[in-house]
Subunit: 150 residues, 2 copies
DNA sequence: AGCTTTTTGTTGCAAATGCAACTTAATCGT
DNA sequence: ACGATTAAGTTGCATTTGCAACAAAAAGCT
């Protein structure tokens, strides 16, 4: 069985590093682009779901969101139907930087897929989605403090 | 052109989180497993090459190595042929934890590839290696402080 | 209804991460 | 051979990251 974890780690860290450096021009600090994109796509999303989408600790996400709220990129509104929940939205200012993030992501994706046939690109995409689905349960299990059996 | 970055990020963060939690039992702190495996595979490797293999900042790698040296997992020897270089090796103690890391990685990889045919597993592996190669130059360019044109 | 469990979010540490800036050794150019 | 550039590693500082532990609201249970 071939190893796929190593390449995935390399690719993710490399592209994340590139993104973080490039987004400093737009005054985004480390990781912020991830949250902005996800909130943009899911207006009104709550913290725990956002953290689970991105696969990042909820306390990390919480502080990132707080900071982005302070910087005027995001805003939170209390959900009147559920006083525990704070719904997160992109502000106008946040909406202005979104296209730049999107453009960067598109470009990196393009570079990543260079020389790969359209068919294989789709295959790769589908296989990666399958892998993401495959590990989801283990992630939640371990995060909950339970142990994996192996 | 399908997006592959998102799944890759999710998979990497999820599996990295799992690994870090599981390796606390063996007294490894965040990220240390990555270095240990790479040094194990490349005895005598130097810091800068190690950092570039893993795609992590060299100062981050430097401090991780220092800490692992203090904990007796790794050791460094001055290269007599080049006084700048410090060659890194796994110690006996480090060699003892290696099998546990390897086993965990194998298991996560297995979970990740569940339900994917052997043919597709190989295809996925090969495509990911291609992607890793595709982005290598951009990574080094941006790390060097130069800009990407897009 | 009343008690327990789960959901959602927050703080308090301690540690890792990485950009800037620096030192020293090696290599390059001429 | 010597000055300039690159390679290799380190330290300072600010920030992010995440595990524990907590608080409060909501949902489940009987």
């Amino acid at each position: 069985m071939p190893d796929i974890l190593r390449s995935i780690g390399i690719i993710d860290r490399a592209l994340d590093t590139i993104a973080n450096i490039e987004f400093k021009e737009v005054n985004l600090t480390r990781g912020q682009y991830l949250y902005l994109v996800r909130v943009y796509e899911h207006p009104g999303i709550i913290l725990e779901r956002l953290a689970n989408l991105i696969k990042v600790d909820k306390t990390t996400a919480a502080r990132a969101i707080q900071k982005m709220e302070k910087n005027g990129l995001l805003e939170r509104k209390m959900n009147p139907a559920n006083k525990k929940q704070k719904q997160i939205y992109v502000t106008d200012k946040g909406r202005q930087v979104y296209p730049l993030i999107h453009r960067e992501n598109l470009y990196s994706n393009e570079v990543a897929l260079t020389g790969i046939s359209p068919d294989d690109q789709v295959r790769l995409h589908d296989l990666l989605e399958q892998v993401a689905k495959n590990i989801e349960d283990d992630y939640n299990t371990v995060k909950r403090g339970e142990k994996r059996q192996y």
